[in-house]
Structures are given as C-alpha cells and as structure tokens.
C-alpha cells in the first residue's frame, strides 16, 4: 500500500512539475532578434575567456623563448670568447 502511494506521488510529480520548471528562465521572448542576441552573447562569453587565456599563454611562451634564445646566444658568445 505504501509503495503504491509513493508511486502515485511520483507519478503526480512527474506530470505536474515539468509545467512549473521551464527549460530556460530567461528565454521569454521568441523573436528572432532576441534568439540571435542569446546565441551571439553565449558564443561571445564562451570564447572570450578562452581567447584571452590562450593569447596570454602564447605571449608568455614567446617571451620565454626570446629570453632563452638571448641567454643561449650570451652563453655561446661567452664560451667562444673563453
């Protein structure tokens, strides 16, 4: 009896809850401009941090290579002079 009532309660919840839980709390406008704005801003906010972190990483890597190259040249000249 208890199992049946739990199942019945679960069934009621499955039927009733999806109506209250909308897929997207902010997608309340079906206009083309609005959908396009959501798409563009989603892409913008997703790619921007990746781009900035990648750009910073590439810049730092280049700086390290430049420093190492200048250090190697310095050590070569030192060894050739000695």
């Amino acid at each position: 009896m208890r199992r049946v009532s739990i199942l019945a309660l679960a069934l009621v919840a499955i039927v009733a809850l999806p109506d209250a839980a909308h897929a997207c709390a902010v997608c309340f406008d079906a206009s083309d401009e609005n959908r396009q704005a959501f798409l563009v801003t989603t892409a913008f906010l997703s790619l921007l941090p990746l781009g900035m972190v990648t750009g910073t990483g590439i810049w730092l890597r280049r700086r390290v290579r430049e420093r190492d190259a200048s250090g190697a040249e310095g050590s070569e000249s030192e060894s050739s002079s000695s």
Binding site: A37, V40, F44, L45, L48, L60, R63, R67
Partner: protein, 195 residues
C-alpha cells in the same frame, strides 16, 4: 658532496619574463574584461527584446553622441601619448614627465566631461531607475568611469614617483597596462551604449 654537485649542476637563476606587477595586472584585466563583457551581453539581450520598438524608450532623453565622440577621441589620444611616454621613459627617464602628465590631463578631461554629461542627463530626467535604458547607461558608463578614476590615480602616482626618480620600468608598465585597458574598452562601450 663534491660528487653530488658534479652530477647535479647548480640551478641557474633566470630573469622573469614578466614582472609580478604586470602579470598580476594582466590577470586583473582579464577578470575586468569578463565583467564588462557580461554587462554588454546583458545590455544586448535587453535591447533585443525591444526590437521593433523605440530605443531609447519613449520619453527618455537621447544620449549626446557627438560630444561623447570628441571625449572618446581625447581618451584615445591619452592612450597614444602614454605610449610616447613609455618610449621616452625607456630612452631617457626625465623626458617622460611631460607626455605622462599630458596623458593624465587628457584622462582627467575625459572623466570631467563624463561628469558634466551625467549632470545634464540627470537634469533631463534620465536616472538609473527611470528605465532599463537609464539603468544600463549609468551601470556600464559608471563602472568604466570608476575604472578610469582608479587608473588615473595610478598614473598620477607614477608621475609623482617619476619626479622623485624612483619609478621603475615594471611599475610604469603595470599602471600603463591598466590605463590601456580603460582606453581600449571604451570604444566598445561607446558603440554599444551610445549608438
């Protein structure tokens, strides 16, 4: 002990590729770029919901596009002058004082002009509560103005330190990076908010 040191050469202390100040400022700028990106995105979404309707909303004053374009030019010139100050600093430190001061004055003009604009718009009835248009305007432009004031304070500090001959390359690079961020983010905000 001697055999160990022969097997493992002493570690070489290499110069850092970026100073701690510049690296810290870069991380901060990345966070601030995301902050402004969020504001711009929210503004774009709200504006797209009024598609087909009037933007700015009816009864709200229009933003001074032409006057702010001149102000934008002043800010961009300030950034260019700061680049000149940077190269002057690397060549001969004493010659960097005038371009650095000019950059500060141009930046100060930008902030002062923004203040005048705000006063006029408040007088015309555009407040942060009058509409989402007003709310976004004061939030985005106000956040930028707060950054501009903070960056200007850094430049003024650098100018004073330069006068005392205590300013280092790393310190100037750090405060300059913040000012370049303020300068470069503004045209994007201007296009999105004013146009």
């Amino acid at each position: 002990m001697t055999t160990q040191s022969a097997a493992y050469p002493a570690p070489v202390k290499r110069a850092p590729v970026v100073s701690n100040g510049v690296l810290g400022m870069l991380v901060f700028i990345i966070a601030e770029v995301m902050f402004f990106a969020g504001l711009i995105s929210a503004h774009s979404i709200v504006r797209s919901q009024t598609a087909g309707q009037m933007w700015p909303p009816f009864g709200q004053p229009r933003l001074p596009v032409q006057e702010t374009a001149i102000n934008t030019a002043a800010l961009l010139v300030s950034g260019i002058v700061l680049v000149i100050a940077w190269f002057a600093f690397k060549r001969d430190r004493s010659t960097a004082r005038i371009p650095l001061l000019l950059s500060i004055l141009l930046g100060g003009f930008f902030v002062w002009f923004q203040g005048l604009e705000w006063t006029a718009l408040l007088g015309e009835g555009l407040t942060i509560q009058s509409s989402s248009y007003g709310g976004f305007f004061y939030l985005i432009v106000g956040a930028h103005a707060a950054h501009a004031v903070a960056a200007l304070a850094g430049l003024v500090w650098a100018w004073v330190w330069l006068g005392k001959e205590r300013l280092t390359v790393s310190q100037l690079a750090t405060v300059s990076a913040f000012w370049y961020f303020v300068v470069l983010v503004w045209p994007v905000l201007y296009v999105k908010v004013y146009l």
